[in-house]
Structure formats: C-alpha cells, structure tokens
C-alpha cells in the first residue's frame, strides 16, 4: 500500500487543485503558504458571507470583524482554553468513546468480529462532545440522537453550500427545515434551561459554580452584546455545533485511515501504535493533508499591496487555498505531498498541521480541543490511542466510500472491524 496523496484523499480527486472549478472566476487565489498567512493575518481583509447562508451564520463569530469580533472571541475562547478543553475531553469525549467501543464489542458477528461504519461512529462520538460544548439538554434516546444528527446534517448542507454538488435549492430547503426543527426541539428547550439556571443563581438558590461552562450559558447571560438579538444565539449555536461535529468527526476518520495506512506500510512502527508522539505526527499530517476547508474567502476592505507586490483592490474577493498552501514545498519540503508523521517543520510560526485551522484572528476556536495545550494532550491523539488499542482495523471486504453529494474530502462510509469481547 502506498501513502501517496491520491490514496489519502477520500474524494479520490487526487490533489487540492482539483477543487479549482469551485472557486469563483473573479477571485484572486492565494496558494503559497507565506502569502496565505500574510492575508489571514492582515486586518485589511474581512470575512465574507456566502449568498443564502445568512440565516445560518450571518453575524456569527466567523462572519464579523474588528472590535466586535475581538470581544466575542475572548468570550467564546473561555469555553475551550485553559482547563476547558481538558474538561470536555476527559468528561465527555474519552468516556463517550470508551462506552461506545464497549457497547459495540458486546455484539460480535458469528466469526467473533464486530463490524461498524466508522464514518457514522465518529459522528456518534462527537455529537456528545458538541452537544456538551454548546449546552444542549442531555440526549435521552437513540432516536433523539438520530434526530439531532439528521438536523445537524441538514444545517451542515447549507453551511457547506459552496461545495455542494447537485440541486443547491434542495439543500437550502432541507437546511431551512432542519434549522426550524433544531430551534424547536433542541435550541429553545436548552436555552430555557440555561435561563432558569441563571435565574436560580440570581435568586441565590443555585451556586454559580453549578452552571455549566457552555455556549448557551454565555448566550443566556448575554455575555456578548450581539446575543441580545434572539436569532443570533441560534445561529451561533448551529455554527459551533456544526464546526465541532464536522471538524472533529471528519478529521478523526481521516486520521484513523492514515494511521491504518502508516502502520500497514511501516510494520517496524507496530509497537508504537499508541505512542503519543507518533500519533501526534499522524494527527498533524492528517490535518495538513485533509484541511477541513479547502479554501477560505476574504474580501479586501481597502486597497492592499502584499509583500510579494501583488495588488488587491478594495472589494476584491480572495480565496485562501489552505489545501494547496499546506502542501507548499518551500515550507514543508520536496515531499510536502506525502504523508510523513515524522516530518520536521521549520522553526518559527510554521504550523505542523498546515493551515487546516486557518490562522489570524479567526483561527479555529476548536484547536485546543483537537490539539490540547501541547499537541499530544489533544483529543485526537487520545481517541486514536483508544481505538487502536481496541484493535480496530479496516474491513477488508467493504472498502471505504467517499461522500458523493459534496465536493469535499470526506467519507460517506468507512467500514471497520474490531475483535469481539
């Protein structure tokens, strides 16, 4: 088995350039790492809202700039910084994974093996984390969990509208119905619970320490002035829920796939299957070669001349091609297209995980959950340890299948097997 880029791309597109047809023609494309970083960090470039997605993410932290963004970012960072990411990992993510693996192994097939679709399993793992992070009420039944996953999937369709293939109107219609369903069945009941808790704190009948540190507590408390607008709280919640679920689960599936390929082609590393440093290298390279977003867009707020001499006029749309920039050979070496968990990156502000999280003031809020404080203490290293220790491996009879209704590097199905109890 090889470790070529072609093999490591779920969509089978083979290279980041294959997404070119989805980038608007009037857009300046930035593909070099250093120039992309320069634009990400340049406050003369502002966020862009794709047409039709305002009811889903307009006015959210991802779509505002300047002082309002700085204030809200500070407020929301409190959820995951310092002990926040540790709490979510230790109290939600790892116990959920261990429980799900345990439950799965209780029902082996006749040959003693357990079979499951890891693309679905990964979402089950992250739905608990994402629900806790935003503060949804506890899920009470598998049917309710399925309902939530289905609603989130509908909302995800609109949030990734640019990359959707086929009938985009149908995607928007499904998304609108999902938004209403999520609002009625999950958001409003959870927000009411949080308001009640805060009222009890005000009345002196509840200790403030007993109120969960989640997004809905911040929204209910109007910790950011923007959340005084009722619908914005819903949009912020949908965005964080989707970002957490989508990013976490999609990266985990890719990371597991890359781990399978690495250990298969490097049997000498078999004894290091749960080694945190090697697994961190696998997570970093996974992030670098499978960016959550192939391109992020910015609009010039004024005329800008970049260090390269490239001139960008006010109002010009710029596509930051994170996928291509993260394989920039001038930064990551001549083998930048290859998967190498022992890759050495240059000193300085070069990320071993490429530009998967973006950079600049809008850098991904969830980075501390995935990478922890130092890297090996992040969620994905822990999860890979649990899964590989349980003996998970690809199902040889059922190959993985890319998700075909969207032009993104993600799996529809990723069958795996585990030894039974």
């Amino acid at each position: 088995m090889t470790t070529s880029l072609h093999d490591t791309t779920a969509s089978g597109l083979g290279s980041a350039e294959a997404y070119d047809h989805l980038i608007p023609e009037d857009c300046i494309q930035i593909t070099g790492y250093e120039e992309a970083v320069e634009v990400y960090r340049n406050l003369s470039f502002g966020q862009v809202v794709d047409g039709g997605t305002f009811p889903f993410r307009g006015g959210t932290i991802l779509r505002i700039d300047g002082a309002p963004h700085h204030q809200r970012r500070k407020t929301m960072s409190a959820l995951v910084k310092r002990d926040g990411h540790t709490w979510f990992r230790e109290h939600v993510l790892v116990p959920t994974t261990e429980r799900l693996v345990r439950e799965l192994r209780c029902n082996p097939d006749d040959d003693g093996l357990v079979r499951c679709d890891f693309a679905v399993f990964a979402r089950q793992i992250f739905i608990d984390l994402s629900s806790a992070l935003v503060g949804l009420n506890p899920i009470e039944s598998p049917e309710q969990a399925d309902d939530l996953v289905d609603l989130v999937d509908g909302i995800f369709g609109v949030l990734s509208l640019r990359w959707q293939l086929g009938d985009k109107d149908a995607v928007v219609r499904r998304g609108a119905a999902a938004r209403d369903g999520f609002d009625e069945r999950f958001y409003r009941p959870a927000l009411e619970r949080h308001r009640q808790m805060l009222a009890e704190v005000d009345a002196g009948t509840r200790d403030a320490e007993d109120v969960p540190k989640d997004l809905l507590t911040l929204i209910a408390a109007h910790a950011d002035v923007g959340w005084m607008e009722p619908d914005l709280g819903l949009r912020e919640t949908m965005l964080l829920l989707n970002a957490s679920l989508d990013t976490g689960a999609v990266i985990l599936v890719h990371a597991l796939h890359e781990a399978f390929q690495w250990f298969d082609s490097h049997p000498e590393d078999e004894a290091l299957k749960t080694d945190p440093e090697l697994l961190l290298g696998i997570v970093n390279e996974t992030l670098r070669l499978h960016p959550v977003g192939e391109a992020f867009f910015r609009r010039a707020l004024e005329d800008v001349t970049l260090r390269s001499g490239r001139e960008v006029q006010k109002g010009q749309l710029v596509a930051l091609r994170s996928g291509i920039a993260s394989r920039d050979a001038s930064i990551y070496g001549p083998d930048a297209d290859q998967f190498n968990p022992r890759r050495a990156v240059p000193a300085g502000n070069v990320y071993p995980y490429g530009l998967s999280f973006g950079t600049g003031v809008h850098m991904c809020l969830g980075l501390p959950i995935i990478l922890g404080m130092e890297g090996p203490d992040g969620s994905h290293v822990h999860l890979l340890q649990v899964l590989l220790d349980a003996g998970i491996r690809p199902d040889p009879d059922h190959p993985a299948r890319p998700r075909d209704e969207i032009d993104r590097d993600m799996y529809e199905s990723f069958p795996v097997i585990l030894p039974g109890p």
């Binding site: 960090r41 406050l43 700085h70 970012r73 500070k74 960072s77 995951v80 910084k81 310092r82 000193a347 300085g348 502000n349 070069v350 990320y351 999280f357 950079t359 600049g360 003031v361 850098m363 980075l367 501390p368 990478l371 922890g372 404080m373 130092e374 890297g375």
Partner: protein, 102 residues
C-alpha cells in the same frame, strides 16, 4: 538596549497586567502573585492581540484571543497555538524605582 523608568507600577496589584509603551515598544508589565514585577512584549507573537488584555495565571500570561501562553520570565511558549517565544525585558528595582531594559 536602554534603561527606562516604568511608571505606575507601584499601584500594580499582584496578579494584574498593564499596558505601557517604552521607547515606542508596546510592553505588558505585570506583577505575579508573589509580588515579582515582569515585562514581556505586549503583542502576542502568534497574532495581533494585546497580552496585557489577557490573564496572568501563575507565571504565565495568556493571550486573550487564542489562549497561547508564555512564561513571563523567559517568554517561552507554554501553550499552543503560538510557536515563537515572546520577548521579555529585564526589570529591576533601584531605590524603589522600577527600571526596564528595552
């Protein structure tokens, strides 16, 4: 490197941070819980955020934007996503006057 008087640090309480500008350089001045004064460059080396707008946790200052953390004595990175250390500036007390070398 020149020596400059740090004004206003006598009212800096333990655990607090304060922005000051020294010779055109933005500096985050703080006092640890044990009472020691320190000075570290104000602009987070990761992103354009003011460290004096962040929080002091023990001997580490935390960026308000992405929660990178730096050792206030050495500038060493203690928490991702920063990868480059912050510059620190020696502070000394002479006859009750605080001086910083910038």
């Amino acid at each position: 490197v020149t020596k400059h008087v740090l004004d206003g640090v006598d009212v800096l309480s333990p655990g607090s941070l304060q922005y000051t500008e020294v010779d055109g350089v933005g500096v985050c001045v703080g006092r640890t819980a044990s009472g020691d004064l320190f000075a570290i460059e104000d602009e987070c080396p990761h992103e354009a955020a003011s460290l004096s707008d962040g929080e002091l946790i023990g001997d580490e200052v935390e960026c308000p934007l992405h929660a990178s953390r730096f050792d206030v004595r050495t500038g060493e990175v203690r928490c991702l996503p920063a990868r480059v250390p912050a510059r620190t500036f020696p502070v000394e007390l002479v006859d009750g006057v605080a001086w910083v070398n910038v």
